[in-house]
Amino acid sequence: MASITLAGDAEPRPGALARLVTFTRRNPTIVIGGLLMLALAGLALAAPYITSDPLKMNPRMRFRLPGEQFWFGTDQFGRDVYARTIWGTRVSLVVGLSVAALASVLGLIVGLLCGFYKAVDGVVMRVMDGIMAIPSILLAIALITLTRPGLPIVIVAIVIPEIPRVVRLVRSVVLSLRAQPYIEAAIAGGTKTPKLLLRHIVPNTLAPLIVQATYVCASAILTEAGLSFLGVGVPPEIPSWGNIIAQGRSFFQIAPWSILIPGIFLAIMVLAVNMLGDGLRDRLDPRLARRM
């Protein structure tokens, strides 16, 4: 502030464009991450309109180089890698978003109860410690072996080991909020527990929860790709970046594009989610940014 602003000569409100520019300059990671995610989501939604059938085999067109006809080349069955990669975006996005949403909601509920009720806390937190000790890939393999493979079971398998991380975060925030005098004041003012949680505690846990959700999302996308690569993720008839890479692996020397391109997409999506998360963390919770 160079000079004192008097009430009379208030500066004119900056236009929408100017405000957007300022926001971008202050939070470049949110804008870049957000735009990348929007672009990927756009591709995923438009997949049926901008690509051909990702499962159509064409033995005469095997191992075609990327070019005019096949932008990203073809694989060992003559399938279009472009179509397969774009369709694979859907799986990654659906897994990432649903795991983030489910883990956040379940983690929020369990974390609230643990933070608020001492009796629940002792038991549930030990169970959470137990879940945390199980490697997520192993748990997923076990679950998928027991049931029919499919997208829902992949999501469940990834959500379970993510829940304890969210619970720990929410619980710690609730514990520190409980010691705030405004919570005591609300109790003294006759606010009953459900309202106390919804009105005073939940809104104050949302900022760190959203940031945590972005990290859960990124790690879920990677885990899904890993599971599909190992052949225990989504079934092969659904193209996913993981199973595209797995199928292209044996022909890496002849057709490197069939593993490079989905790999690049995977890297860009995880990077975009992490950038968004970092940006949101800095913006929503400056204290958290310094701690991490």
């Binding site: 405004y182 004041a185 003012g189 006759g190 009953k192 309202k195």
Partner: protein, 332 residues
């Protein structure tokens, strides 16, 4: 003499100390160790003492924000000690609290109007337009403009925030307000305004105050009677004038002589205590104060003094103020 709005008999609050892997109880902190007093309608009882003596714990236990370990609490003559959360809920309207820290006692995500209106909503006293009107009246009553209702706590100054806290406490029409160091976080000039607001409200509404503070000047301004606490116990309870002019307990004497007086030329007798306050987890046997008392005798180490009336309306817990061969001469 009006009926007491709050009576406390032998109140105790012990916090357990857990140790080791199995979290076995290794002892307890006796934050409040047998405290009795009463607050009448329209009266301010000051509770004074240094930090850690248990005065805030008394305030919270009285409202059952923490569960007392022992003793009895009577609100409006009704025993609330054994009431569960639901039973206490119905009685909370009669007793409210104003907190020390005006920053953390208001939810930063709610508007000022929502904060003050929340208790009204909780007890179904008013809703919609009616609630807005009542909140506006409360704002004006505590000296805030009604159009501040839409503002958020961070937009207010410390004094204004404390006024919001008072408005919230008043909203449900209590008979008793526990004021837990309500002005110690404020500037001196603002302190006086908030204290005077509290005094005005008391005269107008006949409120009883349990006023907790470590500041003797503030106490002198607002209290009618003052209880002095040391290590979880009340050592002296008397009329404000009697306490300031003729303290009977050696701790009160030391406390008063430590308070600054705005006159550098005035000479006075100083009583400076040696050593530190003993740990409330392991209070000394006998009189809690004997380790630092200049008048302590052998009896003080074994015998617990009881809070007794030494002069009319002037109670003190000191063996040397009891009639007998060890009695000290009363100060003039």
């Amino acid at each position: 003499m009006t009926a007491p709005v709050l009576e406390v008999e032998n109140l105790q609050k012990h916090f357990p100390i857990h140790k080791g892997l199995l979290r076995r109880q290794a002892g307890s902190v006796r934050a409040v160790d047998g405290v009795s007093f009463a607050v009448r309608a329209g009266e301010t009882l000051g509770l004074v003492g240094e930090s850690g003596c248990g005065k805030s714990t008394v305030g919270r236990a009285v409202l059952k924000l923490i569960d007392p370990t022992g003793g009895r609490i009577l609100l409006d003559g009704e025993d609330v000690t054994e009431l569960n959360a639901a039973g206490m809920w119905a009685r909370r309207r009669r007793a409210q609290i104003v907190f020390q820290d005006p920053y953390s006692s208001l939810n930063p995500r709610l508007s000022a109007g929502a904060i003050v209106g929340e208790p009204l909503e909780n007890y179904g006293l008013a809703s919609g337009r009616e609630k807005t009107n009542r909140v506006a009246k409360l704002f004006e009553r505590v000296g805030l403009r009604a159009d501040f209702m839409r503002k958020f706590p961070h937009e207010f100054s410390g004094g204004q925030r404390q006024r919001l806290g008072i408005a919230r406490a008043l909203s449900v029409g209590p008979a008793l307000i526990v004021a837990d160091e309500p002005v110690s976080a404020l500037d001196v000039s603002v302190q006086a305004q908030v204290l005077n607001l509290l005094i005005d409200l008391q005269e107008e509404l006949g409120l009883g105050y349990l006023f907790i503070s470590h500041d003797l000047a503030v106490m002198r301004h607002i209290s009618h009677r003052i209880a002095v606490m040391y290590l979880g116990r009340i050592v002296e309870l008397a009329d404000k004038r009697a306490l300031f002019t003729r303290p009977l307990h050696p701790y009160t004497e030391a406390l008063l002589s430590a308070a600054p007086i705005p006159d550098p030329t005035r000479q006075r007798k100083k009583l400076v205590l040696q050593g530190d306050v003993p740990s409330p987890a392991n209070p000394p046997k006998g009189c809690h104060f004997h380790t630092r008392c200049p008048y302590a005798i052998a009896r003080c180490k074994v015998e617990d003094p009881v809070l007794r009336e030494a002069l009319p309306g002037h109670q003190v817990a000191c063996l040397r103020r009891e009639a007998g061969p060890d009695a000290l001469p009363l100060p003039a």
